[in-house]
């Protein structure tokens, strides 16, 4: 006897299409135009910061930098839906999300400029720093969520990762735990179609990445990752469910990486300019600007004023970053353990003495 014992469905949500037209009803929060303008401004700031970071890298004043151009809606929509007491765990391409969470521009510049103070967030004290080994933050998110659940808190963890991360064992293991222990965690996949040079079609035979959650026993859905209204809405609903004991959710935000993987990559070596140009027509900022403009909520002067404001804010941050001196060499030792064991006192002294000989950095 053979019978069907399980089937699955994966939904795809879009509210604002690439032409800036509504394809679904506006959720309650989006009926407040001020809120939408807030989201739009955040995306514009993220992109302006991105451009500045690339330029700093090109002039040797910032290290390797992963641009998030084209993916602003995933980051802004996700972070904007979070509460202050939730915890955010980024991969490394979530600048817009971190800005909303309260990680300052200076902190972000310090991190990419190679200074540990960039991860000592003055704002979101429990948010995690970047997770460079891909997908290794998925278990952290599950652990953070478990802590929240054990304490009976109305908080949730949000873990943002790329499509490439979904092939990693750590991620599968974490989803399994999130499902079987019904953890208050929302996993958001920033599916930008490219894992460095590996296209989505070569990443997995699964029709959607969202359905991997279903295999782990919790719901997975897709959302138009270039539609900040839809991203906010699905993340908001998932967070409310998680915080009230409803368990985990996987949200696959379908977007496109309009930039190179990082400044150390040249994507033209493996993808065509035509492909990228075509995708620009779907990008998140233009469609939102169109919608706001056509709703008479945004004018040319507002745009000019916003861009000027972003430039001013970013330039001030860059000045502060460039003026920040590197940490002294003893700082390599002073955060190794709660108290530096006597076993390393001699090395610490030698490091200080050595840099004295080399002179000022």
């Amino acid at each position: 006897m053979t019978k069907i014992v399980a089937t699955f469905e994966v939904s795809y949500t879009q509210i604002l299409n690439k032409s800036g037209k509504l394809t679904g009803p506006l959720p309650a929060f989006a009926q407040d135009t001020e809120k939408l303008i807030e989201l739009y401004r955040a995306m514009v700031l993220s992109r302006a910061f991105d451009a500045k970071a690339i330029s700093l890298h090109r002039t040797g004043r910032l290290g390797t930098f992963p641009s998030a151009v084209g993916q602003e809606a995933v980051c802004v929509g996700t972070a904007a839906a979070m509460q202050e007491t939730d915890v955010f765990l980024p991969s490394f391409r979530e600048h817009g999300a971190q800005l909303i969470r309260g990680v300052t521009l200076v902190e972000q510049l310090l991190y990419w400029g190679g200074d540990e103070r960039g991860s000592d967030f003055s704002g979101p004290k429990k948010d995690f720093p970047m997770a460079v080994p891909v997908g290794t933050h998925a278990p952290h998110a599950a652990g953070v969520a478990l802590a929240m659940k054990l304490r009976g808190e109305e908080r949730a963890a949000v873990c943002l990762m790329g499509d490439g991360a979904t092939s990693r064992g750590d991620v599968y293991e974490s989803w399994n735990m999130a499902g079987v222990w019904s953890l208050p965690v929302v996993y958001v996949i920033n599916n930008n179609q490219w894992a460095i040079s590996l296209p989505r079609s070569a990443q997995s035979a699964a029709e959607t990445l969202a359905q991997k959650a279903i295999a782990a026993g919790f719901p997975g859905e897709q959302v138009d990752g270039n539609d900040v209204i839809a991203v906010y809405d699905v993340v908001d609903k998932a967070l409310k469910k998680a915080r009230s004991g409803g368990g985990a959710q996987l949200i696959e935000a379908v977007t496109y990486r309009l930039s190179d993987h990082t400044t150390a990559d040249d994507a033209s070596r493996y993808r065509s300019d035509e492909e990228v140009s075509a995708r620009w027509s779907e990008e998140p900022i233009a469609r939102m600007r169109t919608y706001l403009t056509e709703s008479s909520a945004w004018k040319k002067e507002d745009e000019e004023s916003l861009l000027a404001e972003c430039a001013k804010t970013i330039n001030a941050a860059v000045e502060e970053y460039l003026a920040t001196k590197p940490l002294p060499p003893e700082s390599m030792f002073d955060y190794l353990y709660a108290e530096l064991p006597p076993a390393y006192a001699a090395q610490r002294a030698a490091a200080i003495a050595a840099s004295g000989e080399d002179g000022d950095d």
């Binding site: 915890v87 540990e116 103070r117 991860s119 000592d120 967030f121 004290k125 429990k126 995690f128 720093p129 997770a131 080994p133 290794t136 998925a138 278990p139 952290h140 998110a141 599950a142 652990g143 953070v144 969520a145 478990l146 802590a147 929240m148 054990l150 963890a157 064992g169 750590d170 293991e173 974490s174 399994n176 735990m177 079987v180 955060y335 190794l336 353990y337 709660a338 064991p341 006597p342 076993a343 390393y344």
Partner: protein, 290 residues
């Protein structure tokens, strides 16, 4: 596996003692998340042979969390695993790869050699604000019995223990090999040699002060570990004695370790494990060196 956690769930409840699906990577990674949120997780790996999926989380995250956030987030976790051979176990169940973890800044690596030290060191490890890899020599889980009070007294981390005082040669070891090392000291005593026996206990950070003070007194040293000889922690100790205690030495520093081979299966295990005889022989070489 060895029933070290027997009865814990009855005493502390299901919210503090958790059975997990079998995935060492996420076990260690979730512990990082729990620790960052203020818990003190004590994840248990069934055998050191299965610890390697957890290695990435320990090296890439647990060891670095305090440093990379300038102390904003910290990782007070204790990763426990039975380690070492000598119980005729199946393949992969007899690993002694403590050197892998001992190489990592930001971790502590602690190995008890007796029930009292297992109790005291584990208490201190759990109370410590930083990550600890706590390796329990499985061979002596049952072989050694010791009575003591459940008094909540921790024992010091980052510190060697002098198990026996002596004047003629320093024998340095840790874990289950303390048994062979003390037996070798007994044989040497019958031959008129008084050996000082040191239990290192914490492999990182290493307490070289105690070892160097002993070598200054005795002039001779043999390091004994079950782990593979080459690139084992004995090499670090020998190098440091050479750097900081050369003028005390009357003989080269000797090392007794596992052969540079894959640990054989049960039938040859006894031929692989460093024996009391090999320790005595190494000590005699040091004592008779000219």
């Amino acid at each position: 596996m060895f029933r070290a956690t027997d009865g814990l769930v009855d005493r502390f409840g299901k919210e503090r003692v958790l059975d997990t699906p079998l995935a060492e990577g996420v076990l260690a990674g979730m512990s990082v998340g729990l620790a960052a949120e203020g818990f003190r997780p004590v994840p248990e790996i069934q055998f050191m042979g299965f610890i390697y999926p957890a290695l990435e989380q320990m090296v890439s995250h647990a060891s670095r969390l305090r440093n990379r956030t300038r102390g904003r987030l910290t990782c007070p976790m204790v990763l426990r695993a039975p380690y070492g051979g000598g119980i005729h176990a199946p393949e992969h169940h007899s690993e002694s790869t403590e050197a892998m973890f001992a190489h990592i800044p930001g971790l502590r690596v602690v190995i008890p050699s007796s029930p009292r030290r297992a109790y005291g060191l584990l208490l201190s490890a759990i109370r410590d604000p930083d990550p600890v890899v706590f390796l329990e020599p499985k061979r002596i889980y049952r072989a050694v019995r010791e009575d003591f009070d459940d008094d909540g007294e921790g024992m010091p981390l980052d510190s060697c223990f002098i198990q026996r005082e002596g004047t003629d040669i320093t024998l340095v070891s840790w874990g289950a090999m303390m048994h062979e090392t003390l037996a070798a000291a007994d044989q040497l005593a019958e031959q008129g040699t008084r050996a000082e026996v040191i239990d290192v206990a914490t492999l990182r950070p290493l307490d070289m002060d105690t070892i160097l003070a002993s070598v200054e007194k005795t002039g001779r040293c043999v390091i004994v570990h079950e782990a593979v000889l080459s690139n084992g922690v004995g090499a670090e100790i020998a190098a440091r004695i050479g750097e900081d205690g050369l003028l005390s030495l009357l003989a080269p520093v000797g090392r007794v370790g596992g052969y540079d081979t894959i640990m054989p299966l049960a039938r040859l295990e006894a031929r692989y494990m460093p024996s009391t005889e090999r320790v005595v022989a190494a000590a005699r070489r040091a004592l008779e060196f000219e």
